[in-house]
């Protein structure tokens, strides 16, 4: 079996159809999190899952489309974070391709990395658009404390994002990992880009 290519713009139809489904999964993750009143967003399961299944580029597209659609239907502020979601998709896609989803331990590391990358990308956006807050109560409380102690704005804002993003993304990646492991093999192979296993 030829190893599938990571960077390709030649998407199979299955990979394209995966994008809306993954956006739907993101949406449902968020919905369930709010129905079950979990203190996390868990709004990137579809993005991470799509990256695991079909690579970083599809993951990034899922992230961007997700926030565009969410902006269109619920909250226009989410347009701002489209870049963060794209970064999540790319990071998860590359690391999944390099084998960081072979066991739970590695999946946790993947979650930490994705969380840090999300925080790194979000911080400049937060500073540019709203001088550093994230509108998450715990993160903003920390942000306020750090500002009160006269720490620099960017550091406080970064800490704000880290506190929010890292736990959220670790949980998101772990859930995606568990779902990914539970998928039947024919579903996993469907999005393979090599074009030799099954060409629809």
């Amino acid at each position: 079996m030829k190893k599938k290519r990571m960077w390709t713009l030649q998407f199979s139809t299955a990979a394209i159809v995966l994008i809306p489904a993954a956006v739907g999964i993101n949406f449902l993750g968020k919905l369930f999190a709010s129905v079950l009143k979990l203190p996390l967003w868990v709004d990137a399961i579809g993005t991470v899952l799509a990256s695991m299944l079909a690579g970083p580029i599809v993951g990034a597209i899922v992230g961007i489309v997700n926030n565009i659609v969410y902006g269109f239907t619920t909250d226009p502020v989410s347009f701002v974070y489209a870049i963060t979601q794209a970064a999540i998709g790319i990071a998860a896609g590359i690391m999944a391709y390099k084998g960081w989803i072979s066991n739970v331990g590695k999946a946790i590391v993947l979650g930490l990395v994705v969380g840090f990358i999300a925080a790194i990308v979000s911080t400049p956006l937060n500073i540019i658009f709203w001088e550093g807050t994230t509108s998450n109560v715990w993160g903003d409380a920390l942000f306020a404390i750090m500002l009160a102690k006269d720490m620099p704005l960017w550091l406080a804002s970064f800490a704000d994002s880290i506190v929010v993003d890292v736990p959220d993304k670790v949980v998101t990646v772990l859930l995606s990992f568990l779902i990914f492991k539970g998928l039947p093999k024919n579903v996993k192979l469907m999005y393979d880009n090599s074009g030799e296993i099954e060409r629809l």
């Binding site: 979990l38 709203w130 509108s135 500002l147 009160a148 779902i179």
Partner: protein, 255 residues
């Protein structure tokens, strides 16, 4: 089925402007408020955006959308008002804390910007059908495959939400707890999400076969089913918008 969008069906001049001009307006309106840091100018832009919403007869519909951002605005006012780095002048005191003038001024400016951002998007979102926007983008050369992705999301999500209702009931019937302590609720997350994910992934297979049969991957030029609607005021509006934006940039560079 199409309850996903915020589109409001009205007959107004704003509805008759073509989607791409509105898209340009959104971009320029938001960029201008971030380029200029003068309260009055930003307030002026915001009032102008409100005026467009009023002309489009959709002003009432923007209020709940602004409400979604309430938490963001509240946190900006509280955090910046009390703790902004440049705090020197005390405006007034609340118990042991004092609100500072500098922080409050910045918080007010950001609030104006956020409300303008939401309202400017509102002009596009509330007065444009997503189908029309995507079709306009397709005519400008967006890949039809990508256009499909954007539009099908809006159809798939309500289907998936309907499916989750069934799955939640089924899992409850099998004895799953969806209420209780945090850990209890957390444990029920996977049994709820798992079946929906699996179901929608298997569906993608059928959907891609259906698409392939209908020539989804065909190369060559596509034609459009719907005739282009006759939009109005497109060119003069675009010229006005671009002229305004250039003025803002020049003003920013000079001052």
């Amino acid at each position: 089925m199409n309850n996903m969008t915020l589109y409001v069906q009205r007959d107004s001049p704003v509805h008759r402007v073509d989607p791409l001009t509105k898209l340009l307006f959104v971009f320029i309106s938001i960029a201008s408020t971030y380029l200029v840091s003068d309260h009055l100018v930003v307030l002026g832009i915001l009032l102008f955006t409100f005026a467009i919403l009023l002309t489009g007869k959709v002003f009432k519909s923007i209020l709940p959308v602004i409400g979604v951002s309430f938490l963001l605005i509240a946190s900006i006012i509280i955090v910046q008002g009390f703790f902004h780095p440049d705090r020197t002048t005390v405006l007034f005191e609340v118990g042991p804390f004092s609100i500072y003038k500098e922080g409050f001024s910045i918080a007010f400016l950001i609030t104006l910007r956020v409300v303008n951002m939401v309202s400017a998007f509102g002009v596009l979102i509330l007065t444009t059908k997503p189908d029309d926007l995507v079709e306009a983008l397709l005519q400008k050369g967006l890949s039809p495959r990508f256009g499909y992705v954007l539009l099908s999301v809006l159809q798939i999500i309500p289907q998936m939400v309907a499916l989750t209702g069934k799955i939640t009931d089924a899992q409850r019937a099998r004895g799953m707890e969806t209420e209780g302590g945090l850990w209890m609720r957390f444990k029920s997350f996977l049994p709820l999400l798992g079946p929906v994910v699996l179901n929608s992934l298997t569906e993608t297979r059928e959907r891609s076969i259906a698409l392939e049969i209908r020539g989804f991957n065909r190369k060559g030029k596509r034609t459009f089913l719907n005739e282009t609607e006759d939009y109005r005021y497109g060119i003069p509006l675009r010229i006005a918008l671009v002229a305004f934006f250039i003025t803002v940039i020049v003003w920013r560079v000079i001052s």
